[in-house]
Symmetry: C2
Subunit: 192 residues, 2 copies
Amino acid sequence: MKELRERILKEGKVLPGDIIKVDGFLNHRVDCALMGRIADEFAKYFNIDDVDLLLTAEASGIALTAICALRYGKPMLYAKKAKSDNVEGGLFTSEIFSYTYKKKVTLLVAKDWLQPGTRVLVVDDFLARGEALRGLCDIVEQAGAQLVGIGCAIEKGFQSGGDRLRERGVNLKSLAIIDKAEPGNIVFREDE
Amino acid sequence: MKELRERILKEGKVLPGDIIKVDGFLNHRVDCALMGRIADEFAKYFNIDDVDLLLTAEASGIALTAICALRYGKPMLYAKKAKSDNVEGGLFTSEIFSYTYKKKVTLLVAKDWLQPGTRVLVVDDFLARGEALRGLCDIVEQAGAQLVGIGCAIEKGFQSGGDRLRERGVNLKSLAIIDKAEPGNIVFREDE
């Protein structure tokens, strides 16, 4: 997606540790008009009529996914990362490693809200090593739900998460794949 | 807001500890079409032309706020609850107590994204004791930004958070104020 690549080039910062900082428009301050155009772009790659529910993980996936859900007229569900008083009853859980926070995190989804057979489109803002997406796919499988595909805004192509999902046959579409990231030099993978 | 009160009556559950569970449409599974109508309702109470930025706290405020921001054509900013590798440079911070998770939490906002003079509408899904909103107001003040008002979907009127903010002169609008919550008996405050 040309507009997204241009925003990354213009506003993204490469920090030590292969971190690509885009917190001015994606995951702290959020340009919600851009999120709307990302939602429209995903709709070119996935048959939204075949989707019952959009699934993401808190916290940074929620803004984009909510806007996709509004655009598509579908409900969304977000996996929580800590058990709160508001969660009761049966849970699907999946343990992942958060490289952002350098610790193990458990994704939680109440069984009430993910039924067998539900056709799920997973959406996330960022795909690096793919741990959050692995956890979400695991929960979809535990529920006996059906994974229609995964839409990501930005993928770090130089890490393994995206390609590993593609090798497993997952219908993954990332709108900007970064194959190289050095300060002042961000290189994107060619669009398919 | 009649539709919101009806959804609470139909789907809300009152759990021990004054917990009102609405995780089927507000803060786990999210009915994004309803969030769009809540956004339209807020726009009746606040002059959106006077707003530069929408501010909320992760995680449960993000879906509603993102949809408001899309509708209004404004950016959003969400306070984070933990420092990640992606946050660098100066931060506004405010320590709050999370009754949901029974622990102290620090709200964090990068100084880069909240400038002096910015006119801020704070949005949240739920207002109980008002700790998260107190922290957000504190951050707005630290930044020298201007609080236009606070829009909440649901307020627990029988707890003190909302009334304390009103006493301080904050322009707070909650779309459903619950004055009493017992299993099978949820009573709303009359609309103004």
